[in-house]
């Protein structure tokens, strides 16, 4: 029987890049890792409840913290690293002519027009939404747009609202924005307007696959990081 | 002519045909079980569509294949006492009795609610649901419902089969009065020779 690759639980927004990394790894003669993409929250809860998986690549540190603190120690000590970074982009439909310079007090509300909505991940829960709100607060425009936010269940849904022209503006990760030709990046939020956006990777204590550690190291290797950079992520 | 019937209908692989003209009064439809009596009544009531032929009552054409006439059941004005009663299970006995009564034009009504309740002995049952009625009680409600609908003619399919002799006698007397005083055409299915001989002016045999 063909040995199975390690089971990797990963945030849905990493789908293309991680698949590319897995392909490269497999091309080097390893069994291809099995990738399960879902919301970081769902994956973290699965781990907390004893999921038999090998690696966890989360879209935010909070959920990784949660798993680390879970009773019974769900993470192998010393295997957690912050693998990737990302930045926040303000986007508009491709055909939109909106021009804005992101700076403290910039006229975001006016740019939304009379009825326009600002599409984001839900600010209470979706990581991209949380970062977005933080940035808008730092730039002192949050109070003017707070009532205008349409909170989507994922970054991708927020982006769909913009690319379909339902919302004139939206906030998503820079990596998402560059993957969709129907949206245009209006500007990138200054890195100091929000906490660093990082994607932590760790190996689970339930991990039994002999290839798990190897694949984790591969992802953290220069070769692995190069793949992610090709999709617009930053690395450390 | 009260009833002019010349019809045929296909039931499964069987063909049921009937042809008769009846004068005023009560016409008895006689025939063995399965001969097609109910089928004929259904065709006259407009519940089954004859393959061909013609049906008229009191000179009024209800169905005429050649002339393209096919009145809808509600336009035919028949008071049909069904062999299987067909009481409305979600209404009280009173609701059943008044169903056709409410729909009849006031001047088409020829019998009172109280009258019907009295001679059918339904006074104690008005609030009851059909489900708990005895066989004979249900049959009496079915008769009352048809009489109260202000019908221009009656179709009665073994209307007294589940009743005791005394009730039977009483109801037959009412039917006779309807026949004599109102001159309503009545088509009457029964297996009881004596009943038929007493009531009916003419007998149609089916086979």
């Amino acid at each position: 029987q063909v040995p199975r690759g390690p089971l990797v639980l990963a945030a849905a927004s990493l789908q293309e890049s991680l698949n590319a990394a897995a392909d490269t790894w497999a091309a080097q003669g390893h069994p291809r890792p099995v990738l399960s993409f879902a919301a970081s929250s769902a994956l973290a809860r699965q781990i907390e409840n004893g999921a038999p998986a090998d690696l966890f690549l989360s879209a935010d540190e909070e959920w990784m913290d949660h798993v680390v603190k879970a009773p019974g120690g769900r993470i192998k000590p010393g295997t957690r690293i912050s693998l990737l970074t990302n930045s926040l982009a303000l986007i508009a439909p491709a055909q939109s002519s909106i021009r804005l310079t992101i700076a403290p007090g910039f006229p975001l509300a006016a740019a939304l027009g009379l009825n326009g909505r600002l599409a984001m991940g839900q600010v209470a829960s979706v990581p991209a939404g949380k970062y977005g709100r933080e940035a808008l607060i730092a730039l002192r425009v949050w109070s003017s747009v707070e009532g205008r936010v349409a909170g989507a269940d994922s970054v991708r849904s927020a982006m769909a609202l913009v690319s379909r022209g339902e919302a004139p503006l939206g906030i998503v990760y820079a990596t998402d924005a560059r993957a969709d030709r129907k949206v245009r990046v209006v500007g990138i939020f200054p890195a100091n307007s929000h906490k660093p956006i990082t994607y932590p990777l760790a190996r689970l204590s339930a991990s039994t696959n002999p290839d798990a550690e190897g694949f984790r190291r591969f992802l953290a290797s220069p070769q692995g990081k190069a793949i992610f950079r090709a999709y617009g992520f930053g690395t450390r | 002519m009260s009833f002019e019937v010349d019809v045929s209908i296909t039931r499964g692989s069987r063909r049921i045909a009937a042809r008769f003209e009846a004068g005023p009064g009560i016409t008895a439809l006689f025939g063995r079980s399965g001969a097609g009596k109910t089928s004929v009544l259904d065709m006259i009531a407009g519940l089954a569509r004859p393959d061909e032929g013609r049906i008229a009552v009191d000179g009024r054409a209800l169905f005429d294949a050649a002339a393209g006439i096919d009145l809808r059941p509600e336009a035919r004005g028949c008071g049909y006492v069904f062999q299987d009663y067909r009481l409305f299970p979600h209404m009280s006995v009173e609701g059943n009795l008044r169903y056709g009564w409410r729909l009849a034009a006031p001047d088409a009504r020829w019998i009172d609610f109280e009258q019907v309740v009295e001679f059918l002995g339904l006074a104690g049952l008005l609030a009851a649901r059909p489900r708990r009625l005895s066989g004979g009680e249900a049959q009496r409600v079915a008769i009352g419902r048809a009489l109260l609908s202000g019908a221009r003619f009656l179709l009665m399919d073994e209307p007294l089969s589940s009743l005791d002799a005394a009730r039977r006698e009483e109801i037959m007397r009412v039917i006779e009065r309807i026949r004599d005083e109102l001159a309503l055409p009545i088509l009457y299915v029964s297996h009881d020779r004596r009943e038929v001989e007493r009531l009916a002016g003419q007998i149609v045999e089916m086979d």
């Binding site: 949660h66 909170g151 | 009531a45 509600e74 299970p89 979600h90 729909l103």
Partner: protein
């Protein structure tokens, strides 16, 4: 008790009220459409019946996000139906009416099935009897068919209401999560589930949902009982 009314915050009351409004509107709006479809499927003999049946089941078979996505395309601000509704003064995009529309679409197949099941068990001979008593087809429908199919209609309403109360995927995809406008209970629950350590809030809101649906259930049982709908044809 954690769920005593004075323990529920004004914000939560707002969410409860919105959920009830959305679910009730969805149920009421779906009913005539659902009944008409059930009728066509139970009684109609027309080409494309199976196709219509399939179409009705669509929201059940497709993942809710896809349904939401299709709604977005058709009823969004740039969609055909969306522009038409907006022009009629009834915009649905980002509105509670949109949430009701999503819930309505998701509830439709359940309602249609229940009503259809009851319609198919109505004894046609009773309808025929009513016709001979002078009732027009329309009146037969109102006085005979509809009351006899009532158990199915009620069951369909309960299913539709419950489904609407729980509807999440299509709603958030279509009209997103806007507090006070489209944030129904499931959306609030989902938001809380995505934040570590908010299990308490999740449980609270879920219990409220369950409470609301229990009230609806009991009401429907009482109605069914009162109407004595378990009776059979003699």
């Amino acid at each position: 008790m954690a769920l005593a009314p004075d323990n529920i915050s004004p914000e939560e009351w707002g969410i409860i009220w919105l959920s009830l409004k959305v679910s009730a509107a969805a149920m009421v709006a779906t009913l005539p459409v659902g009944f008409a479809l059930a009728w066509a499927l139970a009684r109609g003999r027309f080409p494309g019946r199976v196709l219509l049946d399939g179409l009705v089941h669509l929201p059940l078979v497709l993942p809710p996000v896809v349904t939401g996505w299709l709604l977005l395309i058709v009823f969004g601000g740039t969609g055909v139906a969306g522009r038409w509704l907006a022009a009629m003064g009834m915009p649905v995009m980002f509105r509670w009416t949109g949430a009701a529309l999503a819930a309505s679409v998701m509830a439709l197949p359940l309602m249609v099935r229940a009503i259809r099941l009851s319609l198919e068990s109505v004894d046609r001979r009773l309808e025929a009897a009513a016709r001979t008593l002078g009732a027009s087809p329309m009146r037969v429908f109102v006085t005979i068919t509809l009351p006899l199919a009532l158990p199915g209609v009620l069951a369909g309403m309960v299913l539709g209401f419950a489904r609407s109360l729980g509807e999440f995927g299509a709603t958030i995809t279509f009209v997103s999560n806007i507090p006070g406008e489209t944030q129904t209970l499931p959306l609030a629950i989902y938001a809380a589930l995505q934040v570590p350590g908010q299990e308490g809030i999740v449980t609270r809101l879920a219990l409220i949902s369950v409470g609301l649906s229990l009230v609806a259930l009991v009401a429907s049982e009482v109605l069914t009982r009162r109407m004595g709908m378990r009776a059979h044809v003699l």
